[in-house]
Point group: C2
Chain length 147, copies 2
């Protein structure tokens, strides 16, 4: 396992992800980010591994870790929001650094049943609401120690 | 592991997936389907587990298997097509049965950088071309025995 962790030293968050999202904290593999959007609770998981573009570029243990962390983020969003559906995607047509979106959706939301990607520009809510969202995600993911 | 395999007996492919896509074959966990689209090489992986809607509903071993099969399908599409990017997503806003899309994308394709979902209705090519695509996917995935 130690070998898997060494590439972290060469990793840094892509500047566009750093600009577009706020840090939540670090799980075993991924940096978790939150998107400030008033309509869709929206997280992004970014494996802290250098030069990874596709899921298939990850080592097998890292890919299993990513799946664990997708499930963890999904359960957190579901528990926090009571959403009808999670939408999960690794697209990367704009930002090549591998990142996985997890978005909470409702049958009554404005875009349903379309996905948000390519249909929606994040539209920030009030700062206090976003701070509460990030704090709740940290608690749900067991990341309070990183505060 | 045997326990994980028992729910397969209660599983059947959702009728809309059966209608919209063609069977490629079965990996350890997923039924692989191909979408007949002249522009985007497009596969769908459907875990053969009853009553699963979200990735987070899978057992941990099944989730790891799904990740292995996403990587396998990604490498197959990349090798077959030489695409610039794979787009991977579990959306399920229309068909609730858990299914994962894997779509080959090029920087020169008509929708780039938008994802296909919600932007594109599959547009069949010629039957012989689709049959060749399915046969190539079977070969790439080691599924020739299921022909």
């Amino acid at each position: 396992m130690e070998n898997d962790l060494r590439p972290e030293a060469d990793w840094s968050l892509h500047p566009q992800l750093e600009n577009d999202a706020a840090p939540v904290g670090d799980l075993a593999l991924c940096r978790v980010l939150g998107i400030d959007d008033a309509t869709y609770p929206w997280l992004i998981l970014v494996p802290r591994r250098a030069d990874i573009v596709e899921i298939a570029d990850l080592s097998r243990p890292d890919a299993a870790r990513l799946m664990d962390e997708i499930a963890l983020a999904s359960r957190a969003l579901k528990h926090m929001t009571g959403c009808d559906k999670l939408n999960i995607a690794a697209i990367g047509n704009v930002v090549p650094q591998l990142h996985v979106h997890a978005v909470a959706r409702w049958k009554s939301d404005p875009l349903w049943p379309k996905p948000v990607w390519g249909h929606w520009a994040p539209n920030p809510g009030d700062a206090a609401g976003f701070a509460r969202f990030l704090a709740t995600v940290r608690r749900e993911l067991g990341l309070l120690a990183s505060l």
